[in-house]
């Protein structure tokens, strides 16, 4: 490794102290588990920066040593790149590639080990694609081909700037197509190098339509294009062996540092150093060993507050931006808030008060440019904060605000994008270009990677950090802004918190490390992981592999197919409650290993007629259960199996390294890597099945699933044939259920230890029957096990004989978002009682008690709240929707606090006259509490609770018994009928004469209830004070996700009612 004055070698394991601190090292974790959700205090207190002025000084990056400003390149430059893009510019003298006209120049942004930012211009790389050479094409036709195509492209282009040389080069090469077995023969292909990327599409179109007239030959059919739809950056990275976020080394003497003065030395970016290099002169380090470390990237999180008008979602043309808070990682280089108008000081944070909104926006943009963050994050920044800021700045004519990126004169603009993916469905998002900085919107990450009940920042913080955050209703924000410096300070504290939480979450979920590892494994730039789908990752890996073996990928015209192939089927479950250990045998990485075992690949696919054409003998191919043919690896080894082998091999290695590694930070990196490798391996199968993809191949995907089904069946038969009493085992084994890649076996033994031993044995035994690398593994034992239906089961999960690891529930109403919490909680509690306590009777009693509580109106209303997002106005909904109707109703009551488009509407179902349609029975929970409106308990019981409850109890009690005991027992007969607004009796006496002797007893009952309510009242409201971190200020939080939000309201009402009753006994006297 070259050494130099300012070049720092990536740290070795021996010097862990120098390691860049990407937050999340264990010693930082102690604040996470805190029981006291006192975020405001944390904000105030965690900070280490000494005093205000020092904090502002910490904004810019560490300065380059002065001697480096000249063009001295005698030492190597090493940095970790984080983003790669390209631009069109003039060719630079001394660099390879076209010497005139506009040329594409790649740009890599990165950070050195010391935290200096680098922008590298990589010259001389041109885009290219391939076509299958026409029959009889020779070297002599090359000149004509180039000139003719060049002319056609020039004529096609309407632009004046079109250079003279559009087609830079045409070469003859021997390659073969990936699609279908070709008898291991190469064909002639033309590699066509174009001047700029956009010309590829034009050239391909012209060739496709056969519109190019050649002089030396005639084409009878159009030339089909190969690899014409590969992103230019992906092409460049594959050709230079660069993967996302790896370390790049510019060897000494090979690069030039820009000085900002000369013609070719002008600065184009805001990075600290700009360098130029030829595309074939740099070294790309594979992310292994020392090169797997991470440079000290600057991560900045921010949040904005807008002063909206009552009842209207803020519009950038009308409503001002009043505050922007920013938080930086690694701590504590930034911690500030820009405010409109004065604002009280916040201990530990810098407050920058601005007089006008223009000043606010201007100074913030300037601050971002000074800080020069590598990664921008926040919550919903892509779809709200960034677009709002940019549109607002445009409206106010704030010059230069939109220059947030690293490229000096590129403005950030907002565009709409639609991402369609099988995994996530259709998503509309905004895309903002902030060149050179990666945007990681935490909301998008969570929506993509986690299934949660609610995605509000508050709910997410509670879920992952067990912390509540204060939530101020948007109607209060304007009031706080219009107050004084202290009310604005209060707002600023919220704003800071909202900027701080995304950082905490990124750290806790290790998003940055996991994303970087995914980028490294799949070879795509970090930003692609958020903006692009799954396919680009497979393409990136595929193209790296095909390059090595002279195979080309056809440019597939994606079309909507409607072939449906049979998915994975399951062995029909034998439903029931099993009080015996159930061993689970899993095929590890089933689909990848099927592809490897049977050599399933594009390159090995025998298309119709191919068997005869290439004289393949029956021993040389395999017929899959779906009726497709593939050659065996003895004839040709498939590429996909090779890719999978290397992915799984790398995963094995990462897991082995993980075991050995002691450094906590590297452990996280390795764990992120093995996860990325696993996901990547599994996505290869999906790629072949994606019909609107780059290269679908149903022959592969349907063969894979067909093999899978067959293997599950076979496993069942093998196990049931071997483990029988006839063969000397104590019991006959019974396969009670099988799913995609696992089978559940009841061996009949009554303890976990024996079941484990048999499981291990059976896995090894069955594995022998399959082709390597398919392997059946014994993983876990469920004991007891409640099998409800296909994909619905629950059990205690054992991996060692003496203690269970967890309670595992699949497909049971515990996380579904369209349910109320009561269902999730009750299901979970009942399952715990059944499985952990092994007390089905107790579970039954518990369920009955809850049903009774529901019918007696004793369930906390937050448990009954259903939440739906108001995505469209009611005109756009075809059928009447409960939450839309309710939003309209609320608008009539108070337009100010009514939910707006995009808000989530919480509601409960209230009792209505018989025959009232369900959509009219939705009501605002607060309104219900305040007006004492009766809940439609029966609706909750029959429409929400009954089915899931019966599902778990039927296997235990039997169908009829479950229903009769659960839904028709004594407990359903005591009901509290809350009648609306009955005025309390006006009589001054509490009791009638008849009851006078019982007066004391009655009083005792009421006062004892009163005291329980009082205690709850004080605990609830003091908790809110603790959470907001202030004793002297009013609690303003309206976070409806908070478990105590409705409770604290309800308790006020209950206390007032109870007090009224007690008053009737007369005020106690001395």
């Amino acid at each position: 490794m070259p050494k130099g004055k300012y070049q720092v070698q990536p740290p070795t394991a021996a010097t862990p102290g120098k390691r860049p601190k990407l937050k999340g090292q264990p010693e930082d974790d102690e604040t996470v588990a805190g029981s006291e959700p006192d975020l405001a205090m944390e904000l105030d207190l965690e900070s280490e920066p000494a005093l205000t002025e020092d904090v502002t000084q910490a904004w810019p990056r560490p300065a380059w040593p002065a001697q480096l400003s000249g063009a001295r390149t005698e030492s190597a430059l090493v940095f970790q790149q984080i983003e790669i893009d390209h631009y069109l510019g003039h060719s630079m003298p001394g660099m390879p590639g076209a010497q005139s006209g506009q040329v594409p120049i790649m740009r890599m942004y990165g950070v050195t080990q010391e935290g200096h930012s680098v922008c590298a211009h990589v010259h001389g790389f041109h885009p290219y694609f391939f076509v299958l050479a026409p029959p009889g094409f020779t070297k002599n036709n090359l000149g004509d081909f180039r000139l003719s195509l060049n002319r056609a492209v020039q004529e096609d282009s309407k632009s004046k700037d079109t250079p003279k040389d559009c087609v830079l080069n045409v070469e003859l090469m021997m390659k073969s197509t990936i699609y279908g077995f070709q008898g291991n023969k190469m064909s002639q292909f033309l590699k066509i190098t174009m001047a700029v990327p956009r010309m590829i599409a034009a050239a391909k179109r012209l060739l496709d339509r056969n519109e190019v007239k050649f002089q030396s030959f005639n084409l009878s059919s159009p030339l089909s294009a190969f690899e014409a739809n590969i992103d230019f950056e992906i092409r460049f990275m594959a050709d230079t062996k660069v993967v996302g976020c790896n370390w790049i080394e510019f060897p000494a003497g090979k690069y030039k540092i820009r000085d900002g003065k000369s013609l070719f030395g002008k600065f184009m970016s805001r990075c600290q150093m700009e360098v130029d290099i030829a595309w074939d002169d740099f070294i790309s380090h594979a992310p292994d060993g020392d090169w797997s470390d991470v440079a000290p990237f600057r991560i900045m999180s921010f949040d904005i507050e807008c002063a909206g008008r009552k009842g209207i979602f803020p519009e950038p043309e009308k409503d001002p931006v009043i505050q922007i808070a920013s938080m930086g990682d690694p701590e504590p280089f930034i911690r500030n808030v820009f405010t409109l108008n004065t604002c009280g000081e916040i201990v530990g944070s810098v407050v920058i008060s601005c007089k006008t909104e223009t000043e606010l926006l201007d100074r913030w943009a300037d601050f971002v440019r000074q800080v020069d963050p590598d990664i921008l994050t926040g919550y919903n920044i892509n779809n709200f904060d960034f677009p709002y800021l940019l549109n607002r700045a445009k409206h106010l004519n704030v010059r230069n605000f939109n220059l947030l990126g690293r490229v000096i004169d590129v403005k950030s603009v907002v565009k709409d994008s639609i991402l369609q993916s099988k995994q996530m469905g259709r998503r509309e998002n905004k895309v903002i270009n902030i060149d050179g900085r990666v945007q990681l919107d935490l909301l998008l990450i969570l929506v993509r990677d986690y299934k949660l009940r609610s995605y509000t920042l508050n709910a997410v913080s509670y879920h992952f950090l067990q912390e509540q955050k204060e939530d101020v209703h948007h109607s209060v924000i304007t009031d706080l802004q219009n107050g004084n410096a202290q009310t604005r300070r209060r707002l600023a504290v919220y704003c800071l918190k909202d900027a701080y939480l995304p950082l905490r979450l990124l750290e806790k979920l290790m998003c940055v490390i996991n994303y970087m590892e995914m980028a490294r494994v799949t070879g795509v730039p970090l930003s692609y992981l958020q903006t692009r789908g799954q396919q680009i990752k497979v393409i990136s890996q595929l193209i790296r592999k095909t390059m090595e073996v002279d195979v080309l990928i056809p440019t597939y015209q994606s079309q909507q197919g409607d072939d449906n192939f049979e998915g994975a089927t399951v062995i029909e479950p034998k439903r029931g409650y099993y009080d015996k250990p159930i061993a689970t045998l899993d095929f590890s990485s089933l689909y990848p290993s099927i592809m490897m075992a049977h050599n399933l690949c594009y390159t090995t696919l025998l298309q119709p007629g191919a068997i005869d054409k290439y004289n393949i003998t029956p021993e040389q191919y395999v017929k899959t259960p779906s009726g497709n043919f593939f050659v065996k690896s003895s004839v040709r080894k498939g590429l996909l199996p090779e890719i999978l082998e290397s992915l799984l091999g790398a995963r094995k290695k990462a897991k082995a390294d993980l075991k050995k590694e002691t450094d906590p930070f590297r452990k996280k990196v390795l764990d992120g890597r093995q996860l990325a490798l696993k996901i990547s391996a599994n996505s290869v199968y999906g790629f072949t099945g994606a019909q609107v993809g780059k290269l679908p191949c149903l022959e592969i995907s349907q063969s894979v699933t067909a093999f899978g089904r067959m293997m599950i069946e076979q496993t069942k038969n093998e196990v049931e044939a071997k483990y029988t009493m006839a063969n000397g085992y104590k019991f006959d084994a019974d396969v009670i259920y099988g799913d995609t890649d696992s089978v559940m076996v009841k061996f009949g033994v009554d303890n976990v230890k024996d079941a484990m031993a048999l499981g291990e044995e059976a896995a090894a035994f069955v594995s022998q029957k399959f082709i390597s690398p398919i392997k059946l593994e014994f993983e876990k034992v469920y004991f007891p096990y409640l099998l409800i239906n296909k994909k619905r089961y629950a059990g205690l999960y054992f991996t060692q004989p003496d203690k269970y690891d967890k309670m595992d529930c699949k497909g049971i109403e515990t996380v579904r978002r369209d349910n109320c919490q009561l269902v999730a909680r009750l299901m979970n509690d009942c399952l715990q009682k059944i499985l952990i306590d092994r007390d089905p009777e107790g579970a039954m009693e518990y369920a009955k008690q809850n049903i009774s509580d529901l019918l007696c109106n004793r369930v906390d209303i937050s448990q009954l709240v259903i939440t739906k997002e108001l995505t469209k106005t009611d005109k756009d909904y075809t059928a009447k929707q409960a939450h839309v109707e309710l939003a309209n109703k609320m608008k009539k009551r108070d337009a100010g606090s009514a939910p707006k488009l995009g808000d989530r509407v919480p509601y409960v179902i209230v009792a209505g006259a018989k025959g009232t349609p369900a959509y009219q029975k939705a009501e605002d929970p607060i309104y219900v509490l305040e007006n004492n409106i009766p809940i439609d308990a029966q609706h909750y019981l029959t429409n929400m609770l009954a089915k899931p409850l019966l599902r778990i109890f039927e296997p235990i009690l039997g169908e009829h018994k479950a229903e009769s005991t659960l839904l028709r027992g004594d407990h359903t007969r005591t009901k509290t009928v809350v009648t609306s607004k009955v005025p309390l009796a006006k009589d001054t006496d509490a009791v009638c004469g008849h009851c006078k002797p019982k007066e004391s007893a009655l009083y005792q009952k009421h006062i004892s209830e009163m005291s329980a309510l009082e205690e709850r009242f004080s605990r609830l409201w003091t908790q809110c004070q603790r959470c907001q971190g202030s004793l002297h200020e009013e609690v303003l939080c309206t976070s409806r996700d908070c478990p105590i939000f409705y409770m604290r309201k309800k308790i006020q009402i209950d206390l007032t009612d109870k007090d009224k009753i007690l008053q009737r006994f007369g005020n106690p006297e001395w």
């Binding site: 900070s47 005093l51 300070r489 009774s852 009082e1014 004070q1025 106690p1068």
Partner: protein, 464 residues
């Protein structure tokens, strides 16, 4: 009238009977007893409020007091607000604010709720303190962490208002050099009564089941008080008992029906409150006492009264038998009264217990002394001890020192005289009768205390 029931026999010298009755001592003058607890009475209760009012009022009232105090004692002190702190870097400043103690172990309702589903009961702590606790000063807007050897985190609690001197050495942390609490007004020297008379304190009867061992002991105590038991001299002395104060927890915790509340209604709809029998017993005792002497009954944590401070008097409908006597006084907790010019301030024990849980203080006497020095009767309310959400005042602010301060339901009888605000205060810890079988008699003339133990076992001296 009750006093006449105890007329002495015509001829004391005749007969062998030791059962001699003396005329109950009655103080002269109409103002000899004044209930001063008006501030703790609530009428028309509004629960639509939050707790920030009470804290704000507390800080405002105490701040004024502290500023006056500082003008006297520390004329150089510059009192600033936390928002002005950045203008005084590395300088010693004075801040006034409310303390907030951050305690990891403090019970948290959010956790309790999430553990509702869990199967493990939350761990039970007798103390909610740990070495990691942090003390924070909050003025009306901002907060700062307090540091330094002058701050004894373990002996301070949330809700105390104070002035601190210190320097902000690190951002967000104040290195404290000194701390001052608001002082109250010294008690007016009390008039020494001419006659000797006694006040008897009882607490923690914790009546529950009719077979309790303490039951017969208490009957003995009642007999002793009303002059039905004891030697002749004793009876003579006991006739000088002018008042009995029952300082809370007359009923046992088990009568609180907590578990019943959680049960489904279809199982409990016909179940009566479990306090009914115990209340009946209590009424039986009270009627015996009230027939002879003035009885003040304070509500405690387990009694059928409201839960949060200030606890309102027990309702008279609970005592249909005793109700007819004007000598029964149902009073508040806290309870403030004046007896022959001696000012007394009483607690049923929740406040001292809560502070013991949230600090390293262990003795109720230490706690009471601290309360007097902080000039606040219930600083941990509402944070860890519920109280009514007052809107316009904080009734727990102590304006002046009492002559006697007591706390009921404690483990041991203890007493001590401390000097607060320049006047002596007699502190008394009243033992739980259920475990100690003791009452405390206070000599109102000398302000001395004596623990009187009742043993109802067979070795009882009066059965010899």
């Amino acid at each position: 009238m009750p006093g006449q029931l105890l007329s002495p026999p015509d001829d004391v010298a005749t007969g062998d009977r030791t059962e001699v009755k003396y005329r109950r001592y009655h103080p002269t003058g109409s103002c000899s007893y004044v209930n001063q607890s008006q501030a703790f009475r609530l009428s028309g209760r509004d629960f639509q409020r939050q707790y920030f009012h009470i804290y704000s009022h507390r800080l405002q009232a105490m701040r004024a007091r502290l500023e006056r105090q500082l003008a006297q004692s520390h004329p150089q002190a510059r009192v600033i607000s936390l928002s002005e702190l950045s203008g005084h870097k590395q300088q010693e400043v004075t801040l006034i604010g409310t303390l907030y103690k951050h305690q990891e172990l403090k019970p948290n309702i959010l956790q309790d709720l999430s553990e509702d589903n869990g199967l493990l009961p939350p761990p039970v702590h007798t103390k909610y303190i740990s070495p990691e606790d942090d003390l924070i000063l909050e003025d009306n807007l901002q907060r700062i962490r307090l540091r330094g050897s002058h701050i004894n985190v373990a002996r301070l609690v949330t809700g105390v208002v104070c002035a601190v001197w210190g320097t902000e050495k690190e951002s967000g942390k104040l290195e404290v050099n000194d701390i001052v609490f608001p002082s109250g007004v010294a008690a007016v020297p009390r008039p020494i009564p001419e006659h000797t008379s006694y006040v008897v304190f009882v607490s923690g009867l914790e009546l529950a089941d009719p077979q309790g061992a303490s039951l017969s002991a208490f009957q003995l105590a009642v007999d002793w008080i009303i002059g039905e038991a004891g030697e002749m001299d004793e009876q003579k002395d006991n006739a000088q008992i002018q008042r009995v104060i029952i300082a809370g927890n007359s009923l046992d915790e088990s009568t609180k029906d907590r578990a019943e509340m959680a049960k489904a209604k279809y199982l409990t709809k016909d179940v009566a409150a479990s306090s009914i029998d115990a209340i009946k017993q209590l009424d039986d005792f009270l009627v015996q006492l009230a027939g002879s002497v003035d009885v003040d009954i304070m509500p405690g944590a387990f009694d059928p009264a409201n839960q949060t401070l200030p606890q309102q008097p027990l309702h008279k409908c609970l005592f249909p038998a005793t109700n007819v006597y004007s000598t029964l006084h149902c009073v508040t907790n806290p309870y403030q009264f004046e007896l022959e010019g001696t000012e007394c301030l009483g607690l049923s024990g929740q406040i001292t217990d809560d502070i013991i849980r949230n600090s390293e203080l262990d003795s109720p006497l230490d706690v009471m002394e601290s309360l007097l020095r902080w000039s606040h009767l219930a600083p941990t309310s509402p944070d860890t001890l519920g109280c009514f959400p007052y809107a316009k005042n904080d009734p727990f602010i102590l304006e002046k020192s009492p002559h006697v301060m007591f706390s009921g339901n404690q483990n041991l009888f203890e007493s001590r005289v401390v000097d607060v605000n320049g006047s002596p205060v007699h502190l008394l810890s009243i033992p739980r009768f259920k475990t100690s079988h003791s009452v405390v008699a206070m000599n109102l003339k000398s302000l001395t205390f004596e623990e009187i133990h009742f043993d109802a076992s067979l070795t009882c001296p009066w059965l010899k």
